[in-house]
Structures are given as C-alpha cells and as structure tokens.
Symmetry: C2
Subunit: 443 residues, 2 copies
C-alpha cells in the first residue's frame, strides 16, 4: 500500500479527522488552489453526531446523518482523501504514519475529536454500549430489537425485565434525547409490535453524576427536561456514580442496583490523542494544549482543533466545551490563519461565539438556551428541528430527514426496525456453503 | 429458549418464510380470527428482491426495500412472528424444529424460496458475491466502495484493473439492471469522486450462458437491452459458461479469461428445501412437487408455494417461473383454499395469470413485455418505476424511494456511498479497548 499523493510545489496541509472541526477547516481552506489538502479519516464519511440517538432508536438511517466525504470535495482537485488510520506523528521529519504508509506535511492539523471515557472501569468498558459513532448507534438499535425478539422466547419475568430494560448513564443531550425517544417508543410502538410482551417490565433509567440533568444548560432547561422525562415515565437518578456492571446489574456508589442487560455509556469523553506529540502538552481530559491560534504548544506547524484541543480563552480556562460549534469555529479561523501565514501576515486570535445550546426530549418538547433568551416546549422543539436540519450536510439528507420527521410525527412510528445481521455486511462476505449431501437449509 | 406460542382451540397455520409468497398468504389468511398464524423467518423483515440491485449500487438504503414484519401484522392479534431458523420438519408429529424449540402445526406452508445455485462449483461459491438478499446486495456495495479506496493505494495498472472491474454472471433482470447502473456510475459519478483514478481500467462484463440477454423475455426486449447496454460500454458476452474463478481471473469453457477481483453470481437458483420432507417429492431444481392446490405430494396438511414449489399447470410443466408474481398468486389462492377446507368446501385449482415482465437498463431505458403488448424506452422506464413503486410494502417506503429516484434522476448521483464496517453492526458490539499505557489512538 502506498499513499500515492502527488508531489506538487504547493504547500501541503494534512488534516487528521473529518468531524465538525476538520470538515469545516477543509471546506474553507480547499478554496485556495495553491494549497494541497490531504484529509485522513478512518471512515469515508462525515458523521452528524447530534442525531446519533435517532439512529439508535430506529428513526433515521445512518446514511441520513452521514455524508460521503468524496461528495463534499468532488469539485476540488487539490483535495486528496485517504481512508485509513494514523498510528503516529513524526514531528522531526514532518510526516504522519498511516495504514497506507508515511504522508509528509507542511502544516498538520489534528482534529481527531474525542472517544468515550470509561474512567478506567474495565468492567463497564467491556459490557457497555457507547454512543460516539453512527455505527455504535446502529449497534444499540440492533441490540434492542434483537432483545425484544429474544424476550418472546424466555420464560421468567426477570429475564424479560433484563432484556427490555435499559440504563443510560450520562444526563447530557445524548442521554436525555435517547431516553426520551425510548420512552415514546415504549408508549406508542412497542406494545403494537409485540402484543405478546408485557412492557410494564421495561424500565428506562437515566443516571447522572451531578444533581441535575443537562448540567451545562440553564436551570430552566435542566428542570424542565427532568419534568418532561419524569412525566413520560423515565426513572431519573441524579447524583449517582456508577461503579460497576456485571452484565445483569448496574451498581452505583450510592447503593443502587438496577437490573438490565443493556447499559449505554454516554457519561464522558476523553481526547483522542496520537502518538508522537510531546506528552507535556497534554492537559485535562487528555486534550492538547494550544495557543490562541490553535497552534500546539511548542510547534510552529502543528495545530489542533475541536474536542481534542484545549485553548484557554476568557471564561474557558480549561478549553471550550466539546461540542460542534467550537470545533467548527476553530476550523474556520484556522483556515484563515493558514492563508495569512502563506501571505506573510500575522495570525488572528480565535474568539468563540456562543450560539446557545438545546436538547429535544420528545414530541413537542425541547429546551433551548440562547445567549439572551431561554424557552421550552413546542416552539423550542420547532427551533431544535430547524437548527438541526439546516446544520446537516447535503440537501437530500435534509429533505429525507424532514420527511422522516413529519412521518414519525403523524404516525407516532419509527419505522426502521430491521435487524441487519453483522456478518452479512462484510465487504468480502460469502455465505457459508451449505452441506451438499444434506438437502437441508434454513428458512 | 421456548417458542412460547399460546395454545388456543383454533387451527394453527405455520408459514415458513416471509418472502412474496409467504407474506401474501399470511396477510390474506390472517384476516380470519378463528385461525392462529405463526410466521417463521430468519429475518424480522420482508425483502423486496426486485430492487436489490439499487441497494448494491448505492441508490437505495436497505430499509427502503425491507419492511419490518411486525409492522405488517401490528393489528392482528392472531399472528405470531418468530425470528429463527427451521432445521427440520417432523411430519409424523406435525411439528417443525426451530432454533427456539418445536412448534406444532395443523397446516404447514413451506415458502422458503430459493437460494443461489453455484452448480457444484466450490471455487466460485467461495469467492463470488451472490445477490439473493438485501444483505448480500449491501455487501457488494461495501466491497466496490472499499475497492475504489484501495485502488488509490496500489501502484500497478493490473491491480487497479482488478479492483475496479466487475464480472456479473447471469443475464436475467438482476444482472442486466446491475451492470446498467454500474456503467452509469462509471460515467457520471465515479470519476468525480475519484479524480485520481483512471476509470478506463474499469471493465464491466455481463456473462450469460445462452446466446441472448433476458432469455425469458421477448426477442424485442432481449435485443433492445443488449443494444442499450453495449452503447453504455458494458461488455456483453453471451453463450459463455463460467468454469472457474481463482480470485483474479474468471474463466469460461469457451476460453475467455477476464481479470477481476469482483465476481457477482446471479446465474441461477435452487430451491431452499428443508429436512424431513420425503425426498421423492423433489423434482428439477430441487423444487417440491405440489398438486394444483399447492399441496405437497403425499401430504394432506403440508403446502409449498413460490420458488420452492413446482406445480405443473398448462405450459408450465416444470413449475412456474421463480418470480414474485407466481408466489404472490399462489399465496392468495392457498389462503382461500385453507379457508374452504375449514368450511368443509373443496379446494379450487390454482390458475396463474401472467402479468408480464420487465427490466430497467438505465436512465429513460427499460424493456416491458405485457401479455399482448411490448414496448421499450422512456415510456417503458416510467412503467417500470410505477409498477415497482406500487408493489412495495409501506407508503413511507414508496415516498422515500420516489424522492430518491427523482433526486438521482436530476443529479445523476447515487449518494449513499458510505462504507459501513462490518464489526460495528454487531448487536453486542463493544469497541476494542485501547491499550491504556500508550497514548495512541486512531483517527
């Protein structure tokens, strides 16, 4: 394997990661033809993280919230996309080591984001379902659908309760939105699909370490989301620190013991850092310390943006919140600064503009905090939908998601309840040859 | 595991397989509340086979052409769906052996369809990609997309030719529609997505054993489809019998040697027969010989419909064509006959009504044979789309597919080009824990 990236007399910018930050940077910087851009990602698509929970709850297809990178850059001949992983950075010879070989850079941008943080709890890491990729969201969907099927074929209430119940750890937007949708499914769809099952055995728990939900949002939003969810029958347990999970019971330091076969871990992230960066620049959460120009401390030609970076700015002493907006804004500012560097101009300092935050809880129910205005309920829910639709990449994705949402709203029905088995999706998949001497086959 | 199907004083009809035949039967027969219906399928969804090729070519999502069975029967309390495989039929004690245990029946309907037939060629069975399920279609899509990525990182023209080229064996509708769409992608999309690749190295071959394409259709349709495809740059090789495939070259008895890493096998099917049926009732193609009431020869309470059954009727001495229409019609007639049996009435003989056949080749290009009228071109293409849209299960599927088609038509673009990796779709998938002592991680 060779990276096969042509050598030109243009400066080469290598961007690792095509999440919100990397993509925003790449789209902007690629406009300048005298730069060669190399984008490295382990997937051939960009993922829209705010809607993972709808993939997990069978409301949207992965393809609706993932967008092929090559399509974004179809008209840009100066962009080279390589689908591979980076194993190390060689800062000395200005190159990155990838699955396809070594790729040199003039400017390197680390936009590798964050990964799930289990805080060292191996037992949970091995058994919990994370929610940090569209693929993991799909895994959760498949698991829950298979559980409902399995619940038909066991014969103790304890087994049924374990299969149907779910414990979601983490009271941020992902956790709140996930349990909200699950409780609506328990109300509207599941009893129709499985009239043979007793859904009073399906417990939906939401656990949070601090004493309120949506801790980074306003008191109003935090309180209202709890009120909504409790009315919908979600069991909310705040001030609980999960300490263990044996596959049957989730235990907390505060003495809770919750029966479930399904633990979803949305309780924290840590920076996704690469080998080769001086470990002394790593700060809280494993993030890379950068200056106000997104430059990694001690390097002139290496930058970090988004969740993986920690920039001190005003109130954000330990870095900006690990959300889409700071990543996108840092990506755009960095594009400008790389241009300025090429033109011999000094860089401009990054300034974060807080556009607000929001979360949706269910039908007609959302909470929105804008910088100077907070509101909840139906209008917040419309705002949430509008903002998410316009933030998506691709017009077709917007249309299809819009139709899906209208459909779900009218019918109360998430309709993508297919269990797609794993082995069959393998690129080189070949079905097991059937024994030739028997006439048998399965259905 | 227990099947857990409640015992009632109603007669129980067990249907194995929810393809076109099994689903048509189940929907009809379930209308009568004094029957208990058990549907057994290895998937929790019904698959719309005529559009597999659009899943394979990134035009449609699997969920658009697969429909959750439980949704179809939501309002039918007398229907019990079990997602499992049948390993054997015990005709003596009137039961079927499943992955969940034994399920007894009063009437048993075998609607297990057909599986890919490799005609005993192990080498091909191990290396070829079949097209008999939505999952296999998705596997082909993932394979081709991954190949394009890989082709960027090899350095001989031979390797690139192998990765990009495809040999499709079987000149029926699946083969014709698949190569037609692939050649349009080669023309319109792939050079934009991969400006670094030389698509003149991408050969698209369609091989057929007899001397024409679409052999069951009219001479006009057969000739026109060849003309269309050849204009689109597909290399059509008729009168070729494939004898081997070593992973690099497809060889034929007639001496051809075609370079490809991708062999698609759409060249034949054989009945998917279960253990426990008297082998003497199996006829050509492994199909189960049934009488004009779909009764398996020698049994009073076992029926077979669709691809797995062989009924002699008029010109169809060796059974009806293995297509959707005969299966659907047999399912509906059998529903009626089971009702008649319960009411003490004699059964009515099945009469096949040929509604015609059709295939689409590309934009504005299709061939349609109606019983008394044949036509090709733009109007045939509109007809093809209309018939396929109304044949789908689910209004939402129809809307979404219609929008997808309009979108593709306007933009010349199949947009679902995501490579979803296999392991991540596993129900119990847990990401490999990263080594804690290294700071490394991938992108």
């Amino acid at each position: 394997m060779l990276p096969n990236i042509p050598y030109t007399n243009h400066k080469r910018v290598v961007i690792i990661g095509a999440g919100f930050g990397g993509l925003a940077l790449a789209r902007e910087i690629a406009k300048r033809d005298d730069l060669q851009i190399v984008i490295i990602d382990k997937n051939n698509y960009h993922q829209f993280q705010p809607l993972y929970y709808q993939v997990a709850t069978a409301g949207l297809e992965p393809s609706s919230i993932a967008f092929p990178l090559r399509k974004v850059f179809q008209s840009r001949k100066n962009v080279h996309i390589r689908v591979t992983e980076v194993s190390a950075i060689h800062t000395g010879r200005k190159s990155v080591e990838t699955g396809l070989g070594e790729i040199t850079y003039d400017f390197l941008v680390i936009a590798t984001g964050a990964v799930t943080n289990y805080f060292g709890m191996k037992e949970i890491e091995q058994r919990a379902i994370p929610m940090k990729s569209v693929a993991e969201a799909l895994a959760l969907r498949n698991r829950m659908l298979q559980n409902f099927e399995d619940a038909l074929s066991v014969d103790t209430a304890d087994e049924i309760e374990g299969l149907l119940s779910i414990v979601v750890v983490g009271g941020g937007p992902t956790g709140v939105e996930l349990v909200g949708t699950l409780s609506e499914m328990r109300q509207n769809i599941l009893p129709k699909d499985y009239p043979e099952l007793d859904f009073s055995l399906m417990n939906i728990y939401l656990l949070e370490g601090v004493d309120k939900l949506l801790p980074v949002m306003s008191e109003e939003s935090s309180g209202k989301s709890r009120e909504y969810l409790e009315k919908m029958g979600v069991k909310i347990l705040t001030g609980q620190s999960v300490t263990g999970y044996d596959g049957k019971y989730v235990t907390t330091r505060q003495g809770m013991n919750l029966r479930t076969d399904n633990l979803v871990w949305a309780a924290g992230v840590k920076a996704n850092v690469l080998n080769g960066i001086n470990p002394e620049v790593l700060v809280k959460g494993g993030r890379i310390k950068v200056d106000e120009f997104s430059r990694v401390m001690g390097y002139q030609d290496i930058f970090a943006i988004g969740d993986v970076a920690s920039m001190s700015e005003g109130e954000f002493e330990n870095g900006h919140p690990q959300l889409a907006q700071p990543a996108i804004q840092q990506g755009k500012t960095l594009a400008k600064n790389i241009w300025r560097a090429l033109d011999g101009k000094p860089p401009v300092a990054f300034k974060y503009k807080d556009l607000g935050s929001m979360a949706t809880i269910g039908r007609n129910k959302a909470v929105v905090d804008l910088p100077f205005f907070k509101f909840q309920g139906f209008f917040a829910w419309l705002t949430w939908m509008f903002i998410h639709l316009i933030s998506l990449v691709g017009i077709k994705n917007r249309i299809l998601i819009f139709i899906n949402w209208i459909w779900t709203y009218i019918t109360y029905d998430q309709s993508l309840r297919l269990i797609l088995k794993p082995k069959i999706l393998q690129p080189g998949f070949v079905e097991e040859p059937e024994p030739e001497d028997e006439k048998a086959a399965g259905v």
